[in-house]
């Protein structure tokens, strides 16, 4: 098993939470892991990304080689475009929300962005904000995206659930429930789309 995942979004959108959940799940299944994060300047509304690498064998590089990522998992559509060069053209999946975060004056037309994503051979796009809102809080949008990615992660669904339980436990049962529902709904939608 080897999965190389690019996580992308805008500072403050919770991509590190996604990374932590996947990381905890992977460790519980005995995989090795490396995760390169971006700290510093980029947190002030700039673009953020993380390289997350899971493998059953030792991992050499902290960075994923260009053109070999198994997945781009993005909580913002424009941010998903930025890493097209990282994706494996033969097998790579792109999973992204369609909810734009507009803090630049020249933000492109959403339609143009989505058209680019939909040209890719393997993609899932979803209105994660709406799904999360319907479940109770837009805060869970990142976990909806994680749910949509879950069929392609090579990890057991229960491992992700357990990781969410552990990670959100200190925030109370309601938060645990919300995020478990978000994970489930995201997964159902991805499975629906790939039918």
């Amino acid at each position: 098993m080897k999965k190389d995942i690019i996580l992308s979004g805008v500072g403050g959108q919770g991509i590190l939470t996604i990374a932590t959940v996947i990381g905890m799940a992977a460790l519980s299944e005995g995989y090795q892991l490396k995760q390169a994060e971006v700290h510093g300047m980029s947190q002030r509304g700039g673009d953020v990304q993380s390289h997350l690498r899971l493998s059953s064998r030792p991992i050499a590089s902290d960075l994923i080689p260009e053109g070999t990522a198994d997945m781009i998992l993005s909580v913002e559509p424009l941010e998903s475009l930025r890493y097209f060069n990282m994706l494996d053209t033969e097998n790579g999946w792109l999973i992204s929300s369609i909810n734009p975060f507009k803090n630049i004056s020249n933000y492109p037309d959403l339609e143009d962005i989505l058209a680019e994503i939909w040209k890719l051979p393997r993609h899932v796009t979803l209105d994660a904000d709406q799904v999360a809102k319907d479940l109770g809080s837009v805060k869970a949008a990142n976990i909806v995206i994680l749910g949509a990615a879950s069929p392609y992660l090579g990890l057991k669904y229960e491992s992700l659930e357990n990781a969410i339980r552990n990670l959100f436990a200190k925030k109370g049962e309601a938060m645990v429930e919300l995020n478990l529902n978000a994970l489930k709904k995201g997964r159902e939608m991805a499975e629906e789309k790939s039918k």
């Binding site: 805008v10 500072g11 990381g23 460790l27 090795q32 892991l33 490396k34 995760q35 390169a36 994060e37 971006v38 700290h39 510093g40 300047m41 980029s42 947190q43 002030r44 509304g45 700039g46 673009d47 390289h51 064998r57 991992i59 050499a60 590089s61 902290d62 960075l63 994923i64 080689p65 260009e66 053109g67 070999t68 990522a69 424009l78 941010e79 475009l81 930025r82 890493y83 097209f84 060069n85 990282m86 994706l87 494996d88 053209t89 790579g92 803090n103 630049i104 020249n106 933000y107 492109p108 037309d109 143009d112 962005i113 680019e116 890719l120």
Partner: protein, 541 residues
């Protein structure tokens, strides 16, 4: 023991705690900040009473650590690469005094300048000071080498430099801990004159340092931090330093590497180790993150030996961070490129946060400065440097911490009157105070705006040494009380504030305007903590 999932920075911190650390001394700076923050948050460190309060700057941090080492205990100093420029006087001289308790200096380099003004290579400082330098390639080595650094430091009575780069600082992986060592008891150096660098003593100490160089090289040879792996294909040998080794190995994850490889994690390197590789192969590829230090040494002035490939001949780019693809190309491998990045993609540069007090400070400065010819606002390093970008475009300089005030002084001496310096509270206590004293002594018409957001925001909101002391410091340095003005940078107070700025910028002497409002990020974190605490109290009741 279970593996911990740690950032490279955190692995260094845990390694130091486990090596019997008594104090970490540091000023924040990306990508080194998380080392000290980890120790500040560690229960074990608390129980062991490890000192971990932030220092005012890297020089005070370095000197405090030398003091702790003098008193026989183990001290760690952490900084970003440019911080070592600030600490350089103390650092270089600490090589002459030598260490008593273990003394390890971590300098985190930032190739590609993700959040820095330059990409200087700290290994040069190790060579400059002529002390052992360690360079881990992964998180486990970061842990192990930190521990080894303390051992080495006490074995040879020398400070040791540990160099990392951004990618390792901020990447997480499993780390296995080893047993926790006891801290040292206090014990002064056997020779109480050792730390007096009067020429007569310094010369002897320096002779001592020079005579240790052979032992340093021997240690590099025997420590296991330099490894040789033979390979069948002798057409090329590879030297890979620090994290570059990972990028090399990434290209051979499916097959055995055919070339002989020398993996370097400790300096100075002995001639014998280099020579062994050199004699074995027809050419050498050098992969190092940062400056081409080893490559330049190998080439020498004349570069007439076997062909050397690396950053100086274009096999690898001359500047910037390395990565697996650059390594692959240098190895002549076919590398994949993925899909093309669509043309509609637009950059998303960082911005001052919504509601940030710096917006209001610079709106006021802009309103006044539009009456003068452009090019008069000298600034400094912090969140407020983002005011260089649209829409504000307020400032004309950002060179090194503290330079706003001194550059403004220099410009007024050249006739640029009025000149304004805009500096953050933490930067002011880091390196701005002495410059303000210069301004007062020279009686120049400079207006210094100290943007007091009660924190060191740029690096994530660490405590600011200036907190609650600014007016007293400024007064103490000799600024006239009438020309120390305090305003609240808020949109609704814009007109009032502009009036104050206008008056002080027109004043023909040194004036200081403190714009005071808490960073909205630290404020919201503080409020959340307060609510969380309240919540707990309610549960308890």
């Amino acid at each position: 023991m279970d593996k911990l999932l740690l950032l490279g920075d955190e692995a260094i911190a845990q390694g130091a705690i486990d090596a019997g650390l008594s104090g970490v001394f540091a000023y924040p700076g990306t990508p080194s900040t998380e080392i000290t923050e980890y120790i500040q948050g560690s229960e074990e460190a608390k129980n062991r009473k490890i000192a971990s309060v932030w220092s005012a700057n890297e020089k005070t941090a370095m000197e405090t650590a030398i003091g702790m080492s003098y008193a026989g205990k183990r001290a760690l100093v952490c900084m970003k690469h440019v911080g070592l420029n600030v600490a350089a006087d103390a650092f270089i001289n600490s090589a002459i005094t030598g260490a008593n308790g273990g003394l390890v200096v971590v300098s985190a380099d930032d190739p590609s300048m993700h959040s820095s003004q330059n990409e200087q290579d700290s290994r040069f400082y190790g060579k400059f000071a002529q002390i052992p330098t360690l360079e881990p390639s992964n998180q486990q080595e970061a842990y192990d080498m930190t521990r080894y650094g303390f051992e080495l430091s006490e074995k040879f009575g020398t400070p040791v430099l540990l160099r990392i780069t951004t990618r390792l600082s901020h990447s997480r992986s499993g780390v296995e801990r080893k047993e926790m060592l006891l801290q040292n008891n206090m014990s002064l150096p056997g020779d109480l004159k050792q730390f007096i660098l009067l020429p007569s003593i310094a010369r002897k100490r320096y002779d001592g340092l020079i005579s240790k160089q052979i032992a340093f090289r021997e240690d590099s040879e025997n420590s296991g931090n330099i490894k040789f792996f033979d390979g069948k294909d002798k057409s090329m040998g590879i030297i890979a330093c620090g994290i570059a080794y990972n990028y090399l190995m990434e290209n051979f994850s499916e097959e055995e590497i055919p070339y002989p490889v020398l993996k370097i994690g400790q300096y100075p390197i002995s001639k014998a180790q280099i020579k062994k590789l050199y004699n074995l192969v027809d050419s050498i590829l050098v992969m190092e993150e940062g400056y081409p230090i080893i490559e330049e040494l190998l080439r020498g002035y004349l570069d007439e030996g076997k062909p050397i490939k690396g950053r100086m001949d274009g096999t690898l780019p001359r500047v910037g961070e390395l990565n697996p693809n650059l390594a692959g190309r240098a190895l002549g491998k076919k590398v994949s490129t993925g899909f093309e990045i669509p043309k509609v993609t637009k950059p998303r540069p960082p911005l001052l946060c919504d509601g940030c007090s710096h917006w209001d400070s610079f709106e006021a400065i802009n309103a006044v400065m539009k009456d003068y010819t452009p090019g008069r606002v000298f600034s400094d390093i912090g969140c407020y440097t983002l005011s260089a970008l649209p829409p504000l475009e307020s400032i004309n300089s950002c060179v090194d911490m503290g330079a706003s005030i001194t550059m403004a002084v220099g410009a007024t001496e050249a006739g640029l009157v009025p000149a304004v310096a805009a500096i953050g509270d933490s930067t002011f206590t880091h390196s701005g105070m002495t410059g303000l004293l210069d301004a007062v002594i020279r009686k120049v018409p400079v207006t210094v705006v100290i943007m007091d957001n009660a924190t060191t925001a740029m690096t994530g909101g660490q405590d600011s040494a200036a907190f609650g002391k600014l007016e007293d410091i400024v007064k103490g340095l000799g600024v006239e009380e009438d020309h120390i003005r305090i305003v609240t940078p808020l949109r609704r107070l814009h007109e009032e504030n502009v009036k104050v700025f206008k008056e002080e910028i027109a004043y023909q002497g040194v004036s200081v305007i403190i714009t005071r409002r808490e960073c909205v990020q630290t404020l919201s974190r503080r409020m959340k903590l307060k609510h969380a605490k309240k919540g707990l109290e309610n549960v308890a009741q």
